[in-house]
């Protein structure tokens, strides 16, 4: 049987161990891209050394009043950071729906990963966390 070639491979920031061998766990292909997108969204400006532009201002936006307007800004932020720093993901839509009861937004990010035909969707609930 031929080896399956992995196009993308990255370490997992949770630093868990593989059950077999105890080596550090890796994430591959779509999983790696999804991890990368998550990392970018969760990074604030000035967090990365010598690269202050990288990241988004999502954590500060979550402290704004919940409104469809803030939601729209949130969508734009997420889309920008992915377009600028993750060339493997072609964003098709970002939808941030205010969840007034939980002081947060339900965000659905849909994007196409290179080499894959079907779209990938990440659904996350963004809540402020202090």
């Amino acid at each position: 049987m031929a080896n399956i070639t992995k196009v993308f491979s990255d370490i997992d920031l949770t630093f868990t161990r593989k059950p077999a061998g105890g080596d550090i766990a890796l994430s591959y292909d779509s999983q790696a891209v999804i991890r990368s997108v998550r990392n970018l969204i969760q990074t604030n400006h000035y967090e990365r050394l010598f690269n202050p532009d990288l990241g988004s201002s999502i954590s500060s936006l979550l402290f704004e009043n919940i409104s469809p307007l803030t939601g729209a800004i949130l969508e734009r932020e997420i889309q920008n950071v992915i377009e600028n720093y993750e060339p493997r993901a072609k964003v098709s839509s970002v939808v941030a729906t205010p969840d007034y009861d939980h002081n947060g937004y339900n965000v659905a990010i849909t994007f196409f990963i290179q080499n894959l035909t079907s779209p990938t969707t990440i659904s996350v609930i963004l809540q402020r966390n202090r």
Binding site: S9, D10, I11, A32, S36, N39, R48, N51, E86
Partner: protein
């Protein structure tokens, strides 16, 4: 995993280090996402690259500080200098000399104690405190005590007291808690204990070879914090302190060169209760200096090391004199062997010194330099001789054309600014031995002052300043060391200020307003006679006769082995436009023949005369042959010159001439300078002109 060949270690920049790590990861396929900024791998690469850069930067800094050439921190430079046995120079207090007269004294003798306070006149808006540094006692004559030539130094007196405790200070190192201490004024006394106040004076250690366990010496160094520290012997090199000793360090805290130039002082304290005092200044405050800079330490320390505290080569002398511990700072030092003099003087070393803030050293200071700085370390048979610099002053008149449309500055501002630019130029490129003045550099400095300056031109006079002796006549030689311009219609030589002479026809009559001038003639005397045929068989020196349209020329021949070897001009005469030489045999010589010579009229020698305006306003010549001017060699000689008085408080006479070249060079003992005390040294005329 990857081959290590793709790792590079030479980069110090964050981005390059990260690129190197990425290049390294290219050679493996386990982790491929290193190129994507969002990947977890990229975060790890950032941390690794940052850590590498941090370490590399730190190591680079450490490596820099490890060498005298590249160190930036003062503490590192001082520490490297310490290995070369070099202690950086502290700030040096400017010193002045005063005479103090105390009236209505009823005692038989009076002491002017050390650390008596004087207040100076204002220098740049500040009055500085000056102090005596030693006790002086004089006998009182007719109820008046006169203290002559008292040295006072700028600063405030301070004392630091330390109690010796080996448990807290095992190295017996004591820091002087003031950055501006003048270390040449430090006095160290070690008291037995707090209760037993008998004390011993400790001196600064100088020669470590002869140091024994009982020598009462202290050592001086600059500490890591920039403050000076004194420390004591270990019982082998210098005597050791014991617990309970009290170290008392007294010193002056000075403002360095800031007070230089102060010339008027007021005594602030009463002397033993007497306050009817008069203070006259003899010399103004000079020789002060600021704490040695990092650059200067880097420059001086290796030279001090190479001199090894011995004066053998020229540079040894220069280094030793620059680093003297007498508290005298020098702007320029030049040293040459007497064999280079004309005529040569063998067995002597000539040292020419330009002190900071003044023109010459006093006789006492020269003796101190010879006896305490040079003699102890120089070669036995070589005699050091200190000569004063020979100053040639440049007086400049600069015409500046500027376009008012191109600047917001007024013409007065341009005038002041250009004048400042010229004096900065003079300070930085002249004022030292073996320097050159040239027109291009001067006009560039003027042009750079403001973009609105279209063009500029200058005229220059060279000046010699000297103090003629008024009591009797003397011969003075003024060496300009450059060819001088001959006056054609007007005199190229002038003098200032006005002099007074006794009227030769009536010695009790004083003539006012006497000046020097050159006789503006187009012809002159005989410059030289060259032998065209030496002849033969001369038994006696033949007679040389000069024939021509002038008068007064005479010469004699020099005979070697019956032939004329040369003809020496005794008197150049004057008024010649053409001349020939006749050589006739002496009366007792009948066989000598064949000698011939030709005359060179170069107009080399001119005449200096003195003139004044009579009461009727008629220009009158006082002495038509007051001296000579040698145009080629640039020498003015004043023969039997004895003015009655000179209209200048200092009695200084200035003689100005015009040079033929625009490049003026100074030599061994020559310094070219623009006199900062002369308000007419730089004259700037500003003329408005449209540039197009």
């Amino acid at each position: 995993m990857a081959a290590n060949s793709s790792v590079q270690f030479t980069e110090l920049d964050f981005d390059n280090i990260k690129t190197n790590l990425k290049t390294f990861l290219q050679s493996q396929d386990t982790l491929k996402d290193y190129n994507y900024e969002g990947s977890a791998l990229s975060v790890l690469l950032d941390v690794l690259a940052y850590n590498t850069q941090y370490q590399a930067f730190y190591l680079n800094q450490v490596a820099n500080e490890m060498f005298l050439d590249s160190a930036l921190q003062r503490s590192s430079v001082v520490s490297h200098a310490k290995l070369l046995n070099y202690t950086p120079k502290s700030a040096i207090a400017p010193a002045a000399t005063v005479n103090v007269t105390v009236n209505q004294v009823s005692d038989s003798s009076l002491t002017l104690p050390a650390y008596t306070n004087f207040l100076s006149e204002s220098v740049d808006g500040t009055n500085y405190n000056f102090l005596t540094v030693t006790d002086t006692t004089v006998n009182v004559v007719a109820n008046t005590a006169t203290f002559n030539n008292v040295t006072i130094k700028e600063g405030t007196y301070a004392t630091s007291t330390f109690t010796v405790d080996k448990s807290t200070n095992p190295k017996y190192t004591f820091q002087i808690p003031n950055a501006n201490v003048d270390t040449t004024t430090i006095q160290v006394k070690v008291q037995q204990s707090l209760s037993n106040t008998s004390y011993v004076v400790y001196n600064l250690a100088s020669n470590y070879l002869t140091l024994g366990p009982t020598d009462n010496v202290y050592f001086l160094q600059e500490g890591l914090t920039g403050y000076y520290e004194i420390y004591f012997g270990d019982g082998i090199l210098g005597s050791q302190l014991t617990d309970g000793n009290v170290v008392k360090v007294s010193y002056l805290v000075t403002n360095g060169s800031a007070a230089a130039g102060a010339n008027s002082f007021v005594l602030m304290d009463s002397i033993s209760g007497y306050s009817n005092t008069i203070t006259n200044s003899i010399t103004y405050a000079s020789h002060g200096g600021d704490k040695e800079s990092i650059d200067s330490i880097k420059y001086q320390a290796p030279k001090s090391f190479s001199a090894q505290n011995r004066a053998v080569t020229k540079n040894d002398y220069i280094t030793l004199i620059q680093q003297n511990k007498l508290g005298i700072n020098f702007d320029a030092v030049n040293v040459w062997g007497g064999e280079e003099n004309n005529p040569p003087v063998y067995g002597q070393v000539f040292v020419c010194l330009k002190p900071s803030g003044s023109y010459t050293l006093t006789q006492t200071q020269k003796k101190l330099i010879v006896d305490q700085v040079i003699k102890p370390v120089s070669v036995l048979t070589v005699t050091p001789t200190i000569v004063d610099p020979d100053y040639t002053y440049i007086q400049l008149t600069v015409n500046v054309y500027y376009d008012p449309a191109l600047t917001t500055l007024t013409s007065a501002q341009i005038q002041t600014g250009v004048s400042g630019a010229i004096s900065n130029f003079a300070k930085s490129s002249l004022n030292t031995f073996n320097s050159n003045f040239n027109a291009y550099d001067l006009l560039s400095a003027v042009q750079k002052y403001d973009t609105s300056i279209i063009t500029s031109e200058y005229t220059m006079q060279l000046q010699k300043k000297f103090y003629p002796i008024l009591t009797n006549t003397e011969t003075y030689n003024l060496y300009y060391n450059t060819p001088l311009e001959r006056g054609i219609l007007l005199s190229g030589v002038n003098s200032s200020p006005a002099m007074q002479f006794r009227d030769p026809s009536n010695l009790s009559n004083i003539l006012e307003g006497v000046y020097l001038q050159e006789v503006p003639t187009t012809t002159s005397g005989i410059s030289s006679i060259s032998v065209t045929n030496p002849g033969f068989n001369y038994k006696a020196t033949p007679i040389v006769t000069i024939l021509g349209d002038g008068t007064g020329a005479s010469a004699h021949a020099v005979i070697v082995n019956g032939s004329i070897s040369s003809i020496v001009v005794d008197n150049p005469g004057s008024g010649y436009t053409s001349a020939i030489v006749n050589i006739t045999n002496a009366s007792n010589d009948t066989i000598g023949s064949g000698g011939a010579a030709s005359v060179t009229l170069t107009g080399q020698i001119g005449t200096i005369e003195t003139y004044y305006y009579s009461s009727a306003g008629v220009k009158t010549i006082l002495n038509s042959n007051a001296g000579t001017i040698d145009y080629t060699n640039g020498i003015i000689t004043l023969n039997n010159f004895g003015p009655y008085n000179i209209d200048n408080p200092l009695g200084q006479l200035t003689v100005s001439v015009k040079p033929t070249t625009s490049i003026i060079s100074s030599t061994y003992d020559g310094i070219i300078t623009v006199d900062p005390f002369d308000s007419n040294a730089i004259i700037v005329n500003v003329i408005a002109k449209k540039s197009r």
